[in-house]
Symmetry: C2
Subunit: 339 residues, 2 copies
């Protein structure tokens, strides 16, 4: 007769293997009744947990992957710290993977889930156009942190997300410039049509102009091709070379805005006297630029905490998928002036 | 009779369990003769690898922890990307842990090594004063990346390191200022005596003054207490409040130097006209500050690649512990002027 294993205990109790494992490992996140049932079953079945099986199951049940898209994004760096703290505090381990901005996070996560038997995935940055079909490869709960599935057909009930309303917050930034008298507002975006954060923020720019009856001028918009400082600097040079007339630049990210200010300065355009600049993110370091960057601040720590909390609930089988939209706010610096 | 397990196969071949595991998992990093011996032994012993055992051993043998000390350090962010790439490329998995600057990386690593049966640890940032006694808790090979054990009694043969010579490079920065005619040079350091990177860079500052016969003035040195931009900004305010007379500020890190420039600017001290500023690190983003920061550039990518290469060699049992010191170089910006 083969020996009793942890799966037999789980089947006997009609609970998951990972719950049995949590009891064996003396974890706090098991309700007392379940714990008693498991311990009774162990006695009844004469099951002897061995270290190998225990470790095996621990590996299977306690590991959450954090897949970070866009390698050196300081906004994500601010979130990662809090996400790790929260996940560790809940008794799970973190497997962190950074992938390039052009890599596919779903593919990465699906591979990890198979190879390492994850219990959940937290995506820090990702595409906004998941389809129901492609997400079938991922059989564990997941949370989209800092973005949501605006363009895809994946049903809301099939995933969780924590984000700001990127389009509305970009609109807020541009309307702030408009409220100070600016009407000729340039925009440096990574892409107008990447089906992702850049497109959404670009659409917010368009919406603000439209709301205030300001005609859209293609000559005032530059697609830099990426979120890097180098590409934002190149984009600013192209904008200036067009000799277009503008009094402000809206940029879709703080790091890009710092590079925009640098190029304007180098080319003799004073910020904010000759040109105002506004960013989005609210990075700590953009408070130390000269001049201090005016920016739309995302509540990074709250978003990180909420992302981890939702995922842990899902992993534990508490609650349904949910979607949380945080509100951002403008941090006034010295890079924007009233006309 | 108990069944044959992977350990029996390893014992039979007089090789490690992890090598047998690599053969079972069809990894490329096994020499062909060893592979043949393992396959012969499997046939001879009638060993049937089962998935659970295989997974169990995989987990035990292929996991490298990267322990990052100092949570949002962008210098480490630049290194992490390359380290992860190199480790993955070699067929190992990465378990990344970020710990606070005041946390103990050895304790964290020892816990991880026990809980997760790591095959190696890469410390990204850490203390410079390991003792042979305390490091006994860590039974896997480890590499100190971006620092080395200057102050401890741990024998050189017991660990590996990849670093710049922090004291010599700080001396280089200050001598650069001296070569441009500066003699009254202030210093913003985290600590003069933290037995770590700040102390080493502070000692380099002292050495440069001494080499050039410039008297040391305590009033020109501020201990900010940490590497944060906020603490560097506070330290700069204290320095200015002393009404000390200086023509340049040496700062031990780029992010701190950006905060120093910010406070000088806010208090009406022009950089570089009234005061020069130099940093150490060579971050990408400090090329976009206004003015561009003059800094001592650490070769982050080369250091990252070498750290991963050394650790992978050690994990595979090739080669001994080794110590690599990289040379830095000055990147001239606009924050330093000739007197």
């Amino acid at each position: 007769m083969r020996s009793i294993n942890i799966r037999d205990v789980a089947k006997h109790c009609r609970i998951s293997v990972s719950t049995v494992s949590r009891v064996l490992n003396d974890r706090p996140d098991v309700n007392p009744e379940t714990r008693k049932r498991v311990l009774d079953a162990i006695a009844e079945l004469d099951y002897i947990p061995n270290n190998s099986a225990r470790n095996l199951v621990m590996t299977a049940s306690d590991r959450i992957a954090v897949v970070v898209r866009g390698v050196a994004n300081p906004f994500f760096a601010q979130m990662i710290r809090v996400i790790e703290e929260e996940i560790h505090r809940a008794g799970y381990t973190v497997d962190l993977h950074q992938i390039a901005s052009d890599a596919d996070e779903v593919h990465t996560a699906a591979e990890l889930a198979t190879e390492k038997r994850l219990c959940g995935v937290l995506f820090l940055g990702g595409r906004f156009n998941y389809t129901a079909e492609e997400m079938r490869v991922l059989s564990v709960p997941f949370v989209c942190a800092s973005y949501t599935n605006t363009f895809g057909n994946l049903p809301q009930g099939a995933f969780s997300s924590v984000a700001i309303d990127d389009s509305a917050e970009a609109c807020r930034a541009v309307e702030y410039l408009i409220s100070l008298g600016h009407r000729r507002i340039a925009a440096i975006v990574a892409s107008e049509s990447d089906r992702s954060i850049s497109e959404l923020r670009y659409l917010g720019y368009r919406r603000a102009l439209e709301k205030h009856g300001i005609p859209y001028e293609p000559a005032l918009v530059v697609e830099s091709g990426s979120f890097s400082q180098r590409s934002a600097a190149n984009g600013t040079n192209r904008l200036l070379d067009r000799c277009a007339d503008f009094t402000a630049v809206f940029t879709i990210a703080d790091m890009m805005a710092l590079a925009v200010m640098k190029v304007l300065h180098e080319r003799g355009v004073r910020v904010p006297e000759d040109c105002s600049v506004i960013g989005i993110d609210g990075l700590d370091c953009s408070a130390y630029s000269i001049p201090t960057l005016t920016t739309v601040v995302q509540p990074a720590e709250d978003m990180a905490r909420e992302s981890a909390a939702i995922l842990i609930d899902l992993v534990r089988g508490h609650g349904e998928n949910r979607h949380k939209v945080f509100e951002a706010h403008i941090r006034e610096g010295g890079s924007v002036r009233r006309l």
